[in-house]
């Protein structure tokens, strides 16, 4: 069981969601963050004030998956988020000690496996 954290470009967030959906990865958190991944700085000018904006808008996905789902999740994230330019983002996979589904009390793999509605 792993926690997959991906930091991607905001303009690619929709493509990532689509790719994750196609890979049948469910159970996603997403947040807007500010980050810097080594891309070129942006210059903005407001009247006489010129600034170099080092932090760019990024979107962070957090996805808890069972081991079998780690690779499909990473593949989907890369497929959705990649433009080939500096600043496409990173994927971090970290071990996950425990997961609990609040509604049922299920733990670990049971908790991160989506409920089949059908």
């Amino acid at each position: 069981m792993k926690l997959v954290i991906a930091i991607v470009r905001p303009e690619k967030a929709n493509d990532v969601l689509e790719a994750l959906y196609r890979a049948e990865v469910r159970g996603i958190s997403m947040s807007r963050i500010q980050g810097h991944g080594g891309e070129l700085d942006r210059v903005e000018t407001y009247r006489g004030t010129t600034v170099k904006v080092e932090l760019s808008e990024k979107v962070r996905f957090e996805i808890a998956v069972s081991d079998a789902f780690v690779k499909p999740t990473i593949d989907a994230l890369r497929a959705g988020a990649r433009t080939g330019e500096v600043g496409d983002g990173k994927i971090f996979v970290v071990p996950l000690e425990q997961a609990v589904r609040i509604r049922t009390g299920e733990t670990d793999a049971g908790a991160v496996t989506p409920v089949d509605d059908a």
Binding site: D41, V43, E44, V51, S56, V86
Partner: protein
């Protein structure tokens, strides 16, 4: 002798009329930033400034072109199609009124300039979120002369429509249908936004939209109320109809929203205000107040239908200029031919009051204006497209037009912004990752 000269001028220029037209001109100029606010609320937050700047850009380039040649081509004596160049660079435009007028021609020119400006700004609604700013400015400058000035000549400047008796009080042909059908052509040539039809592209601030619509309505009292060029009956009638008509459009729009989705929407209400103001623009000074209310109620139907239908097509006429302006202007122009009343306007009756010829000339205007606007806009943008790209790249659209085209953000947080103190940095290119 000096006494005689003074009385001559006093007899020609009316102080009350001039006072009202000074105010009306300022009211109409305010409509363009109001439109910028209205449009900015309807786009995604990353395109807020670019969308607003298209309206500001229209003030700049269309206003300058108007003073250089546009006013002359619209209002100087020429042929039926276009005016002459006698007033180019505002030659001969001074304190004396035009023939039959009671306000200085200089003020008349200024009032008409604000019409040209907002019409150009209206067209921008079709191409927001992807058209390059430089290309838009070039388009705006040329369009204001090739399309607006010509249509204004037809309807207001003694051109063929006016000569044959087509009635257009405040610009159903040049302003509303001119912008609406040009918008359709512009959307077709520039093409859809990168994400159109794939992602939900939602308005980012409905309050801007409502505030923009409210300010537009306020300004419209100058637009329609000023188009009588006096404080006389036609101005009072148009002013009052500008109050009554959008109210009725709002009520019907509410009903249509309720029927369709069981909820009355705020952005729908803002749209209804525009549609109501547009439909009474051509008809304001020619129809009775009860008929103005009926026209306002009816006008909701075709415009609402187009707004529902258009997003199901592949035509990304983004902010529905065709529905709100083209269609409502068309409705207003035709209704003059049906319900104009000489007892109210002192000029002509419509079909219901026994004058079928009026309807015929309204119908001709309702076909000729859109045909000219669509065709010339289509060709003009194709030609500009040969010289410079019209569209931002997909990558630039993804980043947002504000940062790419203007190097600013509407909602800059300042987080991570480092002050650059050296002058050298001003010359540095805007550094964004290339696709």
């Amino acid at each position: 002798m000096s006494f005689a000269a003074t009385t001559t001028v006093a007899a020609a220029v009316n102080a009350g009329d001039t006072a009202w037209m000074l105010i009306a001109t300022a009211l109409v100029l305010m409509m363009t930033p109001a439109l910028g606010l209205f449009y900015a609320g309807l786009v995604r937050s990353k395109n807020t400034l670019n969308t607003f700047m298209m309206s500001v850009g229209a003030i700049a380039v269309a206003g300058v072109m108007w003073a250089l040649v546009g006013y002359s081509l619209a209002f100087d004596q020429g042929n039926g199609f276009v005016g002459g160049l006698g007033h180019a660079l505002l030659r001969g435009v001074g304190f004396a009124p035009r023939p039959g007028g009671t306000i200085p021609q200089l003020l008349f020119m200024a009032f008409q300039a604000t019409f040209c400006i907002i019409t150009v700004a209206l067209v921008s609604g079709a191409v927001v979120e992807r058209m390059r700013f430089g290309a838009f400015l070039v388009f705006a400058a040329l369009w204001s002369v090739l399309v607006y000035a010509v249509l204004a000549h037809w309807a207001f400047g003694g051109g063929w429509l006016q000569a044959h008796g087509t009635l257009d009080f405040a610009g159903g042909v040049p302003v509303e249908m001119g912008s609406g059908f040009s918008a359709l052509a512009a959307a077709l040539v520039v093409g859809a936004r990168k994400d159109y039809g794939r992602q939900a592209l939602l308005p980012h601030n409905a309050v801007y939209v409502l505030l923009g619509a409210g300010l537009l309505w306020f300004g419209w009292f100058g637009f329609n109320g000023g188009s009588g060029f006096s404080t006389g009956h036609s101005s009072v009638l148009a002013f009052t109809n500008t109050l009554l008509t959008p109210m009725c459009t709002l009520v019907v729009w509410f009903a249509l929203d309720l029927i369709r989705g069981r909820r009355v929407t705020a952005i729908g209400a803002a749209t209804a205000i525009i549609v109501g103001c547009v439909v009474i623009t051509p008809a304001g000074g020619y129809v009775s107040p009860p008929w103005a209310m009926a026209i306002g109620a009816f006008a909701a139907l075709p415009s609402y239908a187009i707004i529902m239908w258009r997003p199901r097509t592949r035509v990304d006429e983004t902010l529905d200029v065709l529905a709100a302006h083209g269609m409502a202007g068309f409705t207003g122009i035709l209704f003059i031919g049906l319900v104009a009343e000489r007892s109210w306007n002192g000029v002509s009756n419509g079909l219901l009051y026994g004058n079928a010829k009026q309807l015929a000339w309204q119908a001709i205007a309702a076909l000729a204006g859109p045909a000219y606007a669509f065709t010339v806009t289509f060709v003009l943008l194709r030609v500009i497209g040969l010289v410079a790209p019209l569209r931002a790249t997909d990558h630039e659209q993804a980043l947002g037009m504000d940062v790419v085209q203007h190097g600013e953000e509407a909602y800059a947080s300042g987080d991570g912004a480092i002050l650059v103190s050296t002058e050298a940095a001003l010359d540095a290119p805007v550094l964004v990752a290339q696709p």
